[in-house]
């Protein structure tokens, strides 16, 4: 009987899941163990969705891309090299799925702004303020080159190292450092402005 899936990992912890544990899970999943695949999906779903959303912006598109990526990984599990960490391998497939979807998307859909934040609206409460900040952050992310977006999300949100992000993006580690640096500079400026405005 398959093991029940583990509870979701706290954000940033996925990168530190033991590789031995994951290698065993992948081996079981390759042999058709549905519980093992379920555990992997449970562990990486949140990260995969965030990475896909960093690429696509739209949450529905991002979920579709994250799902496509995870299912594509399921079909390719026998190609996974167990000597390397599983997370970067999976997230590379997810990021590629998101990029493919973005290229196919004919018309870019834009999330509507919260009605409380259009010019002339009433003063937002704290929850609404946070939502507005999130919206502005997403817009700021959307202005960054795609590679930069993925790099900063994987580094600052998911806790991956520069070397692991280099594997995900297929670029040199030094380039990852540079991408994270430039993304942070833009986002820090935005957060600083937001504080001053508040």
């Amino acid at each position: 009987m398959a093991d029940p899936p583990d509870p979701p990992q706290p954000p940033g912890e996925v990168a530190r899941i033991g590789q031995q544990d994951e290698t065993a899970l992948v081996a079981r999943a390759v042999n058709g163990d549905r519980g093992a695949f379920g555990t992997l999906v449970e562990r990486y779903a949140a990260t995969a969705r965030r990475v896909a959303r960093a690429v696509l912006g739209d949450p529905d598109d991002a979920d579709d891309a994250a799902q496509d990526g995870m299912l594509s990984a399921l079909l390719k599990l026998d190609q996974y090299d167990p000597r390397r960490p599983f997370g970067p391998w999976l997230l590379r497939i997810v990021a590629n799925a998101a990029t493919d979807r973005r290229r196919r998307r004919a018309v870019r859909r834009v999330e509507p702004l919260d009605p409380g934040f259009v010019a002339g609206g009433t003063r937002p409460d704290r929850t609404a303020e946070r939502r507005a900040l999130a919206q502005r952050l997403r817009e700021a992310l959307a202005e960054l080159p795609e590679r930069r977006r993925i790099a900063v999300v994987l580094f600052d949100v998911e806790g991956y190292s520069h070397a692991e992000i280099a594997q995900v993006l297929g670029i040199p580690e030094g380039t990852v450092r540079s991408e994270v640096f430039h993304a942070r500079r833009r986002l820090r400026a935005l957060l600083g402005d937001w504080k001053e405005d508040g």
Binding site: V41, L133, V153, D156, F181, R188
Partner: protein
């Protein structure tokens, strides 16, 4: 937020991290996981159907081949029945034995 923005800073920025996480989290984690696993089950079923269909096609092809081979072997091994001579064959076919001498002479004398 850390003020250090050197490109070689290897530490995650907790404030940027938290803000981005809030901005990118879509919620409904369990629902998404259930959706992916359901789709994975569908894929497995489809792939099994494909495997079975492939084996079925191979099975049919093999059965046809075996039937044709068996038919050929059986047909080749059976002794064939002698053909019955038709009337023209009997009239026109040369005799297998030589005609008697008197008949030959009679025909020569007649000519």
């Amino acid at each position: 937020m850390t003020q250090d923005s050197l490109p070689f800073d290897a530490r995650p920025d907790p404030m940027i991290g938290a803000a981005l996480r809030r901005a990118l989290d879509a919620g409904e984690h369990d629902r998404f996981v259930a959706r992916v696993l359901a789709r994975a089950e569908q894929l497995r079923a489809v792939s099994w159907d494909a495997v079975l269909a492939r084996w079925a096609r191979l099975g049919v092809a093999a059965a046809v081949l075996v039937a044709l081979t068996a038919g050929y072997v059986v047909g080749r091994g059976r002794p064939t029945a002698p053909e019955r001579a038709t009337v023209p064959d009997a009239v026109l076919a040369p005799s297998t034995s030589a005609p008697p001498v008197e008949v030959v002479f009679a025909s020569l004398i007649g000519n």
